[in-house]
């Protein structure tokens, strides 16, 4: 089956700034794919290369097998884009805006009118159809961007920060809608800052940083790379716990009076053994809590680690060996701590 999006060594340079640095990524047909990354990671640049708003400097990019530059018409016809910015025609009522967009995609006037109504109903702003964009509330504007992306019935729906600044209810409405579209076969590419959103919606996520791919995995896989924290309260101050510190399951142990924090790989599976070891050391457990790793923590760790790697490699490229040696040691020790937490 043809991939919905395939890029190889995609690069984009703005003078000295490298927005995309050899990005290779595949999004399968029918997939719900998330792009995560801090500001400036290259997410929007990546999307804009696909739709033709940014010219790539190097590499290849195809949408359903169509090169985004040589077969741009076929590639763009497959894409519905709800961008981050409100780039909507202010001169016309929103129903006509949607009709125009459908028309640009070769849809006849009558059919365009039918689709515009359908899209507006679907996102819940049909009663505002004769209003102009500027008169809509912030949430309605977001809904309109989605309606405009849907009016051409795309095979690939690209949502760039679709829920930025919207209220909880609208966010959930949008989630339901895009989930439904994905279940009906539409491939969805989502960029977001809300980790919960990616965790809840995406089959796979790619984490980008400084124009590079840090990793691609399912949200569950990513979470498994992190640590859970078991916090135990004991009846009396626990003192030192050498047996637990030596235990294979413990990545890090911290004792503070009657509170013991142990970082482990899988919290649920480790609890019985930890309780056993605590009792064997003569501690009576009165309370217990397991904090699961969040995708957000993994995300922060991965992008931080990437930042350090980039800084280190840039410095060594500069050839300032001796002074880098000292800094490098410091970095490595921090790197080890990250590794012990399971982040690679």
């Amino acid at each position: 089956m043809q991939a919905a999006i395939e890029t190889r060594d995609l690069t984009k340079e703005y003078g000295d700034v490298r927005a995309l640095q050899g990005l290779s990524l595949t999004v399968e047909d029918g997939e719900f794919f998330g792009l995560l990354g801090p500001n400036g990671a290259g997410k929007t640049t990546f999307i804009n290369v696909l739709v033709g708003l940014v010219r790539k400097t190097g590499g290849e990019a195809t949408v359903f097998g169509h090169d985004v530059e040589t077969d741009y018409r076929q590639a763009r016809d497959a894409i519905g884009l709800a961008p981050q910015e409100f780039n909507v025609d202010r001169f016309f009522p929103i129903r006509e805006v949607l009709m125009h967009k459908a028309g640009y995609h070769g849809i006849s006037k009558d059919e365009a009118a039918r689709r515009a109504d359908e899209a507006l109903k679907r996102v819940g702003i049909y009663d505002k159809r004769d209003e102009r964009f500027d008169w809509l509330s912030g949430g309605m504007k977001r809904r309109l961007l989605l309606a405009r992306a849907l009016v051409t019935d795309p095979d690939l729906l690209i949502l760039d920060e679709p829920t930025a600044g919207v209220d909880v209810q609208l966010r959930r409405d949008l989630w339901d809608l895009v989930t439904e579209l994905n279940e009906d076969g539409t491939t969805v590419l989502l960029t977001t800052h809300y980790i919960e959103e990616a965790e809840r919606l995406c089959d796979r996520v790619a984490i980008l940083n400084e124009g590079r791919k840090v990793t691609v995995a399912t949200p569950d896989d990513l979470k498994r790379r992190g640590s859970d924290t078991i916090t135990v309260r004991t009846a009396d101050p626990a003192g030192s716990l050498p047996a637990i510190e030596r235990a294979a399951y413990a990545k890090k142990v911290r004792v503070d009076g009657d509170q013991v924090e142990v970082q482990v790989g899988d919290g649920g599976a480790t609890v019985p053994r930890l309780l056993e070891d605590l009792q064997a050391a003569g501690n009576e457990v009165v309370d217990l809590d397991v904090a699961r790793t969040s995708l957000e923590e993994i995300f922060v760790d991965l992008t931080k680690r990437e930042d350090r790697t980039v800084t280190r490699s840039s410095a060594s490229e500069a050839g300032d060996g001796e002074s880098d040696g000292g800094e490098s040691d410091t970095d490595d020790s921090r790197g080890e701590e990250v590794t012990r937490e399971g982040v690679r």
Partner: protein, 253 residues
């Protein structure tokens, strides 16, 4: 080239100016009423006939050309620049239309606006003086060519502009001087020989002369040659438009 997509974009562009007559059609109508009142009624009797025609009749073709080209230019430049400024031109750019289709739609719509303004000015002129058309086919051909030419130039301007001020600069410092040194208000014959030659470098001279020939049957130059040169210019400008869209000049990063 004239696909469903082009028609949709053409319709959008035409509706934009048709629904705003106060901004698009009223100003040239009022300006030309003033021209005709001042040059026809107030001053007309004091100015000698030129080439055997009353002054108001002599300048009428020039005023029609002026209104047509400036509106064709302004429409294309504004529409493209405003779309870039507010980024809604992305609706067009991210569509599967070919670049030739996009250019065709923008140019056609802006030419239509120019031609409508030309007809309005002729209508206003008719109130002040009887008008006859000596060469109707020539008139239609020339008007279509010059409106397309300036719509095409407007696209270049709209892509080049970085700010709203740039649009004003183009109109004030490029279009307007070409008009006033374009023999709209006088015949080339009244100028010294050197200036007659200098003005031949101004494309406006050919446009005005050809349209004047169409209305009055009088020309300073050879109308067929002028029209051929204008067609050549227009072809070059349209090719430049398509090229600029293709490379994304002013449109993509």
């Amino acid at each position: 080239m004239w696909s469903v997509g082009s028609r949709a974009l053409f319709r959008r562009e035409v509706l934009r100016f048709v629904r705003r007559p106060k901004n698009t059609f009223m100003p040239p109508a009022i300006t030309n009423v003033l021209y005709f009142v001042v040059f026809g009624v107030v001053l007309g009797g004091r100015i000698d006939r030129i080439a055997g025609f009353e002054y108001i009749l002599f300048i009428l073709p020039g005023l029609i050309v002026l209104g047509t080209i400036s509106n064709a230019f302004e429409n294309a430049a504004f529409s493209i620049f405003h779309g870039r400024w507010n980024e809604y031109i992305h609706e067009t750019l991210t569509s599967p239309m070919a670049y030739t289709e996009m250019v065709a739609a923008y140019v056609a719509a802006s030419s239509v606006r120019g031609l409508i303004v030309g007809v309005i000015i002729a209508g206003v002129g008719r109130v002040f003086t009887p008008i006859t058309v000596e060469h109707a086919g020539f008139l239609v051909a020339t008007m279509v060519v010059i409106s397309v030419l300036f719509a095409g130039l407007g696209i270049v301007g709209g892509l080049w502009a970085r700010d709203f001020d740039d649009l004003t600069v183009m109109n004030q410092f490029l279009v307007r001087p070409l008009v006033f040194f374009g023999a709209v208000f006088y015949s080339l014959e009244v100028l010294p020989p050197l200036w007659q030659k200098v003005l031949l470098a101004n494309p406006m001279v050919y446009m005005v002369d050809t349209v004047r020939y169409s209305f009055l049957g009088y020309a300073d130059l050879v109308p067929a040659t002028s029209l051929a040169v204008l067609v050549g210019f227009t072809a070059v400008v349209l090719a430049v438009d398509v090229y600029l869209f293709k490379v994304g000049y002013g449109l993509t990063e």
